[in-house]
């Protein structure tokens, strides 16, 4: 199986297929309010745990809410917030990484030791700690994950900046009198963005897993807002009679995270980028 995944990801086909799947998920998450058949938080106890029907294509949950609508809206939360985490941690990482890498000296040492300090902890432990301090809630989770993830971007960007700033085209720019900020803006950043986006693709998979995991533990999104991890948690009480309540959101997470991972791996091989794993 491992060899099969390797061979799949090497092929360009993987990139295309995963991109299509992810494009599909992003589309439904954007269109969720218009394409979902019901209000995802509309409780209807008379219809609870009903089997799939024309009205409820995937049946209903323990409060009679439409499973399909909840999954569609759940995609919105998972993908939306994972993207938010990606953008914010990339932003901070870019700022810190280029600054440390370009400045060098004690600034670099200080920032990088800090990053290493954060990386020394298992990710989830740190996130749990931060969320524990801030209290449960989706914004707190976003904040916690951003606080943990930006260091990976910072470390990598700093490495690339250090190796790049000795290259001839940078030296040329410096000799010709360009200011530091201009060099960073026009020469460094455009060159490091593509590999970083690749890395971000992989991190997106992680972010989705982490959001779901925290919601499953009751620390992430608060009811009644639908979210895949929280839906698995709610379905747990009905695992014997209605395993599908856990299955649907579980499959969604599986598909999205696998797609992100395969896409990320294929892209990173294409660009020659090493990820954190």
């Amino acid at each position: 199986m491992i060899s099969s995944i390797r061979s799949v990801k090497k092929s360009k086909k993987a990139i295309v297929i995963c991109s299509i799947i992810l494009f599909f998920f992003f589309t439904i998450s954007i269109l969720a309010p218009w394409i979902s058949p019901h209000d995802p938080i509309q409780v209807n106890l008379l219809q609870k745990l009903s089997p799939p029907s024309w009205e409820y294509p995937l049946g209903t949950d323990h409060l009679g809410r439409c499973n399909l609508s909840r999954i569609l809206h759940g995609a919105r939360v998972s993908l939306g917030f994972a993207s938010l985490i990606f953008i914010s941690s990339l932003g901070i990482g870019l700022l810190v990484g280029t600054f440390a890498g370009y400045k060098g000296g004690w600034v670099d040492v200080l920032l990088m030791r800090f990053c290493e300090g954060v990386m020394a902890f298992p990710n989830l432990v740190l996130v749990l700690g931060i969320v524990g301090l801030l209290g449960p809630g989706l914004w707190q989770v976003v904040l916690a994950l951003t606080m943990v993830q930006w260091v990976y971007y910072a470390r990598m960007i700093r490495g690339m900046v250090v190796s790049m700033k000795e290259q001839n085209f940078i030296t040329a720019a410096r000799i010709s009198g360009s200011s530091t900020s201009k060099i960073i803006r026009t020469h460094l950043i455009p060159n490091i963005i593509p590999p970083i986006v690749v890395m971000g693709t992989l991190e997106m998979g992680w972010a989705i897993m982490d959001i779901s995991a925290l919601s499953f533990l009751g620390l992430g999104i608060q009811p009644p807002t639908p979210e895949w991890g929280a839906m698995i948690h709610e379905g747990k009480g009905f695992i014997r009679s209605h395993p599908e309540l856990m299955l649907y959101p579980g499959l969604m997470i599986l598909f999205v995270v696998i797609s992100f991972n395969i896409l990320g791996e294929s892209l990173s091989e294409h660009f020659g980028v090493k990820s954190r794993n």
Binding site: S4, V8, I41, V43, L45, K48, L63, P223, R240, S241
Partner: protein
């Protein structure tokens, strides 16, 4: 060629995934095949409990488990069906005219499991040990009013109270702390709050074998003074996870699953429908209610509180969420407690009436909006719930949806249990879930906290116009010595509370039990915390 290989591998991978799935879904069928193993065990049963039974010290609380404590130790008075108090270790008692002196005649011929006799001396020693640590027992009314205990003669004990307190006997029936440890169990300084040396009691069961967090084996006490149980041995296996308990039960490793919330509603119904086991529900042991905090200025208006009560379909909610394991409640206290059999007008589900009440109270729905407003303020509340409790969570979500239909916005906040209790005790909430204590604590513990500050309930009622009067009535009731007067006071207090709708009763909580068919007799104990093993009989 390479392409074909790849496709094959993908196909195999997909196949593995699907088969994994099917295996997962069909576990139901494989679980119940082995039901042997129960046969050879003779007159013994195995049950499970979610937590370790703890130190079997009769005078302390967590982590000691009530079920174990109640097997080894016995009370002076026992609480029976319908709140009737029966002689247990005390054969009879007399109460003085002023209600301050209780004289107990102790049962003759009772021995502790180490052979030492049970007498007034040892009862006093136990009372003294409990009173040494009185602050940790202050929740129990009798401890607060107890002045002293006196040994009159070998089998007569006098209990003197500082002031009359009618539920004293009922308080003596609770599982802890007023139960009796033998001489051999006391540490040298006699202070049991720090630990005991030996769990020596008078009860029908002895702790035989114990391994922390794994199991505890109780054997029948061969020298028990009363009627011996039929069972010879009860093994309590510690299984923290509810689904694991059910699986062990289906495999025949357990004969019995018993307790409040010991089995999920879904599993209970599955086992019931399978027809292979016996399932049963107890009478109500408590009421699940909402507590509407009248110190919130919006909730201070009786019409708003009534509207909220009219504004949700209680019947559908209780049936839908508890899958029939709980029963819709109209009374704040279920009528199987003493003095609680009062007539109430059930508040029926009536959306139009709810809307009319809110209109009358000045909360109007502005056109184009979904939430009612008054003087620019939105009709918005926060409901706090224990986030690990699936029933509270589901009910919170349902109430949110139902009340939105009458123009009330409900924000729901899941909290850690300790935080929820803290916020309740400090009165820092709009709406909260609340349960009464159950037998033998109610109804007197219930009315006590309606008057007594510090538990959140008195605070929630504090904006009622008749709060002072209520407090007075509660004090009168607890000190009353006349049965008829007491009944009348209870009726009046419960009637007022019911009318004022600070408590919104939702459902009656019941205990559930599931057992293998070789158990022929099972009875729920009348006391919520007692064990059920004395009555159990097994088909050989």
């Amino acid at each position: 060629m390479k392409n074909v290989q790849k496709k094959m591998l993908l196909f195999i991978a997909a196949l593995l995934l699907v088969s994994g799935f099917l295996a997962g879904c069909s576990s139901e069928g494989s679980g119940s095949t082995t039901e042997s193993g129960t046969e050879e065990k003779g007159n013994t049963i195995t049950m499970s409990w979610p937590r370790d039974i703890g130190t079997m010290n009769p005078h302390v609380y967590n982590p000691s488990q009530l079920i174990g404590q109640s097997m080894i130790y016995e009370p002076l008075v026992s609480y029976e069906e319908g709140g009737e108090l029966k002689p247990h270790l005390a054969e009879s008692w007399e109460i003085s005219e002023d209600g301050k002196e209780y004289t107990f005649k102790l049962r003759e011929g009772v021995k502790f499991s180490d052979g030492t006799p049970f007498n007034a001396e040892i009862v006093k020693k136990n009372f003294d040990a409990i009173m040494k640590n009185a602050t940790s027992h202050s929740w129990l009314g009798v401890i607060n009013v107890l002045e002293k205990t006196e040994v009159v003669d070998d089998l007569t004990l006098k209990m003197v109270l500082k002031e009359p307190y009618y539920p004293a006997l009922q308080d003596l029936a609770v599982v802890r702390p007023v139960r009796f440890l033998g001489e051999a169990g006391f540490p040298e300084d006699g202070d049991t709050s720090k630990g005991i040396t030996n769990p020596v009691g008078t009860g029908p069961w002895l702790l035989d074998e114990y391994k922390k967090d794994e199991y505890a084996v109780f054997k029948r006490n061969p020298d028990y003074w009363g009627e011996s149980p039929e069972l010879e041995q009860v093994t309590v296996k510690i299984i923290p996870d509810a689904e694991t308990r059910v699986m062990a039960f289906e495999k025949g490793e357990l004969d019995l699953i018993y307790g409040e919330g010991a089995i999920s509603m879904d599993s209970f119904n599955q086992l019931k429908e399978s027809g292979e086991y016996t399932t049963d529900l107890s009478d109500p042991v408590g009421t699940r209610s909402l507590l509407l905090n009248s110190t919130n200025e919006k909730l201070a208006d009786l019409q708003v509180r009534q509207a909220l009560q009219h504004g949700f379909n209680k019947q559908a909610m209780v049936e839908g969420i508890t899958l029939g394991l709980e029963e819709k409640a109209d009374n704040i206290l279920s009528t199987n407690f003493p003095y609680t059999n009062v007539d109430v007008n059930p508040v029926e589900y009536d959306v139009e009436k709810a809307a009319a009440l809110l209109d009358k109270a000045g909360w109007k729905l502005p056109s184009g909006k979904t939430v009612r407003e008054k003087d620019g303020q939105a009709l918005e509340f926060e409901l706090i719930y224990d986030k690990t409790d699936p029933i509270q969570k589901s009910m919170a979500e349902t109430l949110q949806a139902e009340w939105s239909a009458i123009g009330v916005k409900l924000n729901i906040t899941g909290l850690e249990l300790t935080v929820q209790i803290e916020r309740r005790k400090s009165g820092n909430f709009d709406i909260d879930f609340w349960y009464n204590y159950g037998a033998p604590y109610d109804p007197h513990s219930f009315i006590n906290i309606v008057a007594e500050k510090g538990w959140g309930v008195s605070e929630a009622h504090s904006a009622l116009p008749m709060k002072e009067e209520l407090n007075q009535q509660v004090n009168d009731t607890l000190a009353s010595t006349d049965e008829a007067e007491r009944q009348q006071l209870y009726g009046s207090i419960l009637g007022t509370l019911q009318e004022q709708s600070v408590f919104v009763p939702i459902s009656y909580i019941k205990k559930s039990v599931v057992y293998q068919n070789n158990i022929t007799e099972f009875k729920f104990p009348a006391n919520r915390d007692e064990h059920p093993f004395n009555e159990i009989k097994i088909k050989q």
